[in-house]
Amino acid sequence: MRSLFSTRLFWLTVAVLVGAAVLPQFASGYVLGLLTVAYFTAVFAMSWDLLFGFAGEVNFGPTFLIGLGAYTAGILDQQFSPGLSIWICIIAGALAAVIGGVVLALPALRVSGPYFGLTTLVAVLMLQNFVVVFADLTGGEIGLSVPDVITIDQKANYWIALGFMVVSGAILFGLSRSSIGLILQASGQDKVQAGALGFNVAKHKLAAFIVSAFFSGLAGALMVFYMGTASVGTFIDVSVGVQVIIAAVLGGRRTVLGAAIGAVFLIGMGEILRPLGELATPIVSVVALAVVLFFPNGFLGMLRGEARS
């Protein structure tokens, strides 16, 4: 039964992705720009789902990792361009996020639940303060503009983001379905028991943090070179983090794929409702809330429910 469903979902995914790949032939630059951002957000949300859905760690500060990646890459480029290739800047951004991930993992291994959640929030606020205080280096509240971009071709940018999302999604999804995903779930549910079964819980959780941080940071760095600027409001602010979390929960916790669907939906809705001005955000929030209330397993849960009946 279940494998039947997963194959159906698999072919559906392939069909949607093929559609997405040929979309630039038909869609306007405006739509492509929007989807490019959505694809990056999707990677943020999928990385977050690996930590929360599988390792059971409530990370309220996904933007700590994203921001580290984005700002490290942006600052390096601004300081050393054109001497330094932007690809090196991007890799450095991802590595900085990994270091941040290890730093976050340390409290996670000692405290759990709300206490850990609190430390992640503090981490975001600290990063935000850092950016504001060292305005000379970071651009402060105005933002940091980077001299280089990957390409100015809108279609190329779109394909890069799409390809990046597909590759990251495949890796994260594969991990979640592997032995490691199962061990992470077991540790998230009861770490005493997981230990007694012979699993080094600390090692597995640390790995989850590193992988999640790597993809968050990489996506943040790539997005900087797509947008050409980095600002607190797009990469670090707590509200950005909340958006990422809502996307993951909305799409369906513990599914990885759901996180991507949720992200595209959220960004799309936000844009469609933009003419409503101030009202747009509350409407999107209410819709998200309703979905989560009535379908705790999100969009994928809805899909599955329909498949069952």
């Binding site: 991990l175 490691i180 007694a196 079964l197 699993f199 080094n200 819980v201 513990r254």
Partner: protein, 489 residues
């Protein structure tokens, strides 16, 4: 050290702040030997197991496993040295099947081996067959009966072929026949040459199974020897076994109220497709003690949850003649209908005292004080632990707290769902006396759900048998043995 000893524990000590949970404990187990560990609630049995498993770090002492000191190692290392622990509380992965849950226990602890070897599937199937889960391999844990969940825990613990198996209260909540099947499985470990450390309050089954018994009290050893010797030891009798339980049933005609206070009429409950209760009708008079007995999964908890308003049902439940259907669970509780659930539902991060105070929240201050005093008198260990967080209490201490909190609510009908779960025999005697006192001095009615017939029968004026979601028998306890015991339990 003797070479034929597998586990050799010396001077094991564990302190939690000011409390010494295990004090200078020494014992050893040989391969192919089953050592029973008994003792009153809170005497340190589970703590001793956790120290061996590496879940807690010992304050002092050595733990030699085949000559190698494993004291203080983290549990995943202890596990890989060949120790397995069967947990009392099962927390399986709910979205995975039974088979997949067993497979998890067989996975390598490696970040590089992403997918399990193909032979893992065969191994997992073999283990499932071995513990009697062969028929339910493809089902998911939430749909399994209690006994099968315990089997799953056993399966996970032996997946890596541990040479030493620690089993904490395997028989708690199991019926007599399930207990026999479990005993058989554990006996199988002995034949395979594994060493077993077994904790349980079911004295009869422990005695029948073990080679040797070690009795603990307040963290220390008080007796050791053959089961017969230890059970005959005067100290063990006094602090652990207690006396026999005897009371007399009163005939139904002795209750004066014409309409019973509680009337359950043709009540049915279903969870999705599964029918958990089918047309059940029972009644309880004011002051009457009624026991509902039945196997695991027969529907006892469902019946109680329907009365407490926790699950929707068809049919009618009337309390003092008034239907309860429209009331919320909280409103039902305030009318004096109080349930002490099987799952205890304590406030884990609050102290013992705070849990009790919450129970007595609606009582006037003076009465609250008196009740509290009475209950702390009844369960002295709760007085000693009053400032402790209830999550860290021993299993039996938690059960006492749950019962005490229910009594703090000054119930007029007290529903006790499996109250004997995890309690030492001596505490059963205490509980029995408390119920007797309530019966003699107050008009309280009690509805007792049990599969421990030896406790349920003496405390009942009348008995119902629940079998496969239906009420199958009703009568006075004196007729139970002859008419119902063999057919339904």
């Amino acid at each position: 050290m003797r070479s034929d000893v597998m586990l050799d524990v010396t001077g094991l000590t564990k302190r939690f702040g000011g409390l010494v949970a295990v004090r200078d404990l020494s014992f050893s187990i040989r391969p192919g030997e089953i050592l029973g560990l008994i003792g009153p609630n809170g005497s340190g049995k589970s703590t001793a197991m956790k120290l061996i498993m590496g879940v807690e770090r010992p304050t002092a002492g050595t733990i030699l496993l085949d000559g190698e000191n494993i004291a203080g190692l983290p549990s995943h290392k202890v596990a890989r040295k060949g120790v397995g622990l069967v947990f009392q509380h099962s927390r399986p992965l709910h979205r995975q099947t039974v088979l997949e849950n067993i497979k998890v226990a067989l996975l390598p602890d490696s970040l590089l081996r992403l997918f399990a070897d193909p032979h893992v599937d065969g191994q997992a199937r073999a283990i499932a067959e071995r513990v009697g889960l062969g028929k339910v391999m493809e089902r998911k844990p939430p749909t399994l009966p209690f006994a099968d969940l315990r089997r799953l825990e056993l399966a996970k613990a032996i997946a890596r072929h541990p040479k030493l198996v620690l089993v904490d209260e395997p028989f708690a909540g199991l019926t007599a026949s399930e207990t026999r099947e479990f005993s058989e499985l554990i006996r199988g470990f002995r034949e395979e040459g594994r060493a077993v450390l077994l904790v349980d309050h079911n004295v009869k089954s422990v005695s029948a199974l073990v080679d040797r018994v070690l009795a603990m009290y307040l963290g220390e050893r008080i007796a050791e020897g053959s089961a017969a010797q230890v059970m005959a030891d005067p100290t063990v009798r006094k602090v652990y076994l207690g006396g026999a339980i005897t009371t007399v049933a009163r005939p139904e005609s002795s209750f004066k109220d014409v309409t019973p206070v509680l009337q359950v009429d043709n009540v049915s409950v279903s969870y999705g497709k599964a029918q958990a209760l089918q047309g059940a009708s029972i009644h309880v008079h004011e002051g009457e003690f009624v026991s509902v007995v039945g196997l695991n999964g027969a529907g006892k908890t469902t019946l109680f949850n329907a009365i407490s308003g926790l699950v929707p049902y068809a049919g009618e439940i009337r309390w003092e003649g008034k239907p309860l259907k429209a009331l919320s669970p909280a409103a039902i509780a305030r009318t004096g209908l109080v349930q002490c659930p099987e799952t205890r539902e304590l406030f884990g991060d609050m102290s013992v005292r705070e849990n009790l105070d919450l129970g007595g929240h609606f009582l006037p201050p003076k009465e609250r004080e008196e009740r509290l005093e009475w209950l702390l008198e009844l369960f002295p260990i709760l007085r000693a632990r009053r400032a402790q967080m209830s999550r860290t209490l021993s299993g039996g201490e938690q059960q006492m707290l749950a019962i005490a909190r229910a009594l703090m609510m000054k119930p007029r009908l007290l529903i006790l769902d499996e109250p004997t779960l995890g309690l030492a025999p001596v505490i059963l005697e205490t509980l029995s006396k408390a119920l007797e006192k309530l019966r003699a001095t107050t008009p309280i009615s009690v509805l007792l759900g049990e599969q421990n017939v030896t406790f349920a029968l003496p405390h009942a004026d009348r008995v119902y048998v629940l079998d496969h979601a239906r009420i199958a028998w009703e009568g006075p306890p004196g007729r139970f043995e002859a008419e119902a015991a063999a057919t339904y339990l």
